[in-house]
């Protein structure tokens, strides 16, 4: 346990010293500013339009429009946040083992009385904490911006953010497993390739659900089994979207075909298995 903690601290320090944290913070704040400005203009347009609608009960219409508008715009923001977290996760972990092996910095570490599994777990925990903080800043900032401007909070906010975090963890773990045996570039390439697969698989499943095409749905499910990141986003969107959005059908940032809880359980197993593979491969690796 102590060794894992030493490596986790080292990972944190490396992220700070190599300006990864600073870069993430600065660009994250830029993102939030841009998002807040965009939200302000679009949302005020939505409320104005809703108020102008001829209706026997203008207050109720405005109320619905506000909630639906704020919810949709927030999911747009969180979708972008989820993507940025994934990119961050892939990049953080792609270079970690392979980079240290190719530069040779790993040599004085693995020849100390430490298990290789402790090195992998320590780094994993370090990255997981970094991603958690990043998501708290970005996702929390997005939600806060919407709350301040529209006094709106979604349902199941923590479940939603948790699922996005989980999605980032999946990508980070795959990236790390690849990094234990491939070069950083190859690891990054594979992770983004898989992400693309999950992304397109998710869309095929969505269309399949709308068109009631079972084959398309199955294709999507297979893609989710290969890499379950996108299905986590869809579950997150499902948790946070309004009931009305669910009934009305597909928006780019909501979801129709909802991954089941069994799928979430599968993803947990998937994550653990990937982590174990990362450890095993690194244990056998000649450095």
């Amino acid at each position: 346990m102590k060794n894992i903690w030493i490596i986790t601290r080292m990972t944190f320090r490396e992220a700070i010293r190599r300006r990864i944290v600073a870069t993430g913070l600065v660009l994250g704040v830029c993102f939030l500013i841009m998002y807040s400005i965009g939200f302000h203009f679009i949302f005020s347009q939505v409320t104005k339009t809703a108020a102008a609608l001829p209706s026997p009960s203008p207050a109720a219409v405005t109320q619905v429009a506000n909630v639906e508008g704020a919810n949709t715009l927030m999911l747009v923001g969180l979708y972008a946040v989820a993507f940025l977290s994934i990119a961050m996760a892939a990049l953080l972990a792609a270079d970690t083992l392979s980079g240290e092996i190719s530069s040779g910095t790993i040599q004085t570490i693995v020849t100390k009385p430490i298990r290789r599994s402790e090195i992998v777990l320590g780094k994993w925990l370090g990255f997981a904490s970094l991603l958690g903080l990043y998501l708290l800043l970005m996702g929390g900032g997005t939600v806060l911006s919407v709350f301040i401007q529209a006094a709106y909070l979604p349902n199941h906010l923590w479940a939603g953010l948790g699922l996005i975090f989980f999605e980032a963890l999946i990508i980070m773990t795959i990236s790390m497993a690849c990094s234990s045996t491939l070069s950083a570039l190859a690891a990054g390439g594979i992770v983004f390739g898989l992400y693309g697969l999950a992304f397109i698989g998710g869309w095929i499943e969505q269309f399949g659900a709308i068109l009631h095409n079972q084959t398309a749905i199955k294709v999507g499910i297979v893609a989710s089994l290969i890499i379950p990141s996108e299905s986590l986003w869809r579950r997150a969107a499902f948790e946070m979207q309004t009931p009305l959005a669910g009934v009305l059908g597909m928006s780019p940032f909501g979801t129709v075909s909802v991954p089941s809880l069994l799928m979430i359980a599968y993803t947990v197993v998937y994550l653990l298995a990937t982590l174990i593979i990362a450890i095993r491969v690194f244990e056998k690796r000649d450095v």
């Binding site: 030493i6 320090r13 010293r17 190599r18 910095t105 040599q107 004085t108 693995v110 020849t111 009385p113």
Partner: protein, 306 residues
């Protein structure tokens, strides 16, 4: 401390693809000795060391380090290692770097702090404790790497080309540190291609070629039995030259130069007196030990084993 050998390997073998990098390494390093590991480029030295350090998994064979199998974590607690390509976490400060590695050895904070002070002083980097390794020169990195290898007061130290980045002052420092280690009873496994350095620091050397030990020798045996001297003098006659045979053999004269073998250095003043008495003008009388370089070339061949 009961085990007789610091390192004992038996037919250690590593195959990459269809190429055997190390064919079968069998050697013993005694407790407390400084052991030199010699061989031409590509002879399998680096792979051998990496196997001993559990960086590379052997294809077959076995080894005991300090009586424990390769990679045993309790054994690693008593081992130190300075890698050949001393690349370290350059985003750490020198003090932090040593702290990290000391923590990985499981050292207590207080003991570690005083040990770091001591070692920074020893390698001449006390003033650079709070400087990032990124700003260090090659020589400074090698010095901090050496300090890192000694943090835990190891019983066995692997030094892989420990002076490759160092100037003469740094080389001297490494040599002195190795002498100190020997005095403390630490076993040192030294891989270096600087034969002059091996010559002055090691007790024994192993020559390896094509991934096998071809010869192990005591370095003190280099001096035993024979001193070659070269003489440069004017006014030599065949009779005078012939008279030299009372002190040595293998006399070869070539104009003003004479080479011969003596059984001991103590004959040199007598030879000088003899030559001067016969009105020979002596310009030089130089002892030449059979150098490790000669032995090296004789052992691994001029082609370097390629």
């Amino acid at each position: 401390m009961a085990e007789a050998f610091a390192i004992e390997t038996h037919e250690l073998r590593k195959v990459f693809g269809d190429q055997a990098a190390v064919k079968g390494l069998t050697l013993q390093v005694k407790q407390g000795e400084v052991f030199g590991f010699l061989g031409p480029n590509g002879a399998g030295k680096t792979t051998s060391i990496k196997m001993l350090l559990s960086l590379v998994t052997p294809t077959s064979g076995s080894a005991l380090l300090l009586g424990a199998p390769i990679g045993n974590r309790n054994m690693l607690r008593h081992m130190g290692f300075l890698p050949e390509h001393f690349r370290f976490q350059e985003w750490l400060k020198a003090g932090e770097f040593l702290e990290l590695h000391g923590q990985l050895y499981g050292m207590q904070a207080r003991a570690l702090r005083s040990r770091i002070d001591e070692l920074l002083e020893r390698v001449g980097l006390s003033d650079f404790r709070d400087k990032l390794l990124r700003t260090f020169s090659k020589g400074m990195l090698q010095r901090i790497g050496l300090a890192q290898a000694l943090l835990n007061r190891p019983r066995l130290v692997f030094l892989d080309e420990p002076t490759s980045g160092l100037d003469p002052v740094g080389r001297r420092l490494v040599r002195d540190i190795i002498h100190e280690l020997r005095k403390d009873g630490t076993s040192v496994f030294l891989n270096s291609h600087l034969l002059s350095e091996i010559e002055v620091t090691c007790d024994r050397v192993a020559f390896i070629r094509h991934g096998e030990v071809v010869r192990v020798m005591e370095l003190s045996s280099l001096d035993v039995g024979q001193v070659n001297v070269s003489i440069r003098a004017k006014g030599l006659s065949p009779e005078i030259i012939a008279g030299l045979s009372q002190w040595g053999w293998n006399i070869q004269a070539d104009g003003e130069n004479i080479g011969m073998a003596l059984s001991a250095e103590s004959a040199m003043p007598e030879i000088t007196r003899y030559l001067v008495m016969h009105a020979v003008e002596v310009y030089a009388l130089t002892p030449k030990r059979a150098s490790l370089e000669e032995v090296f070339i004789e052992t691994v061949g001029k082609d370097g084993g390629l």
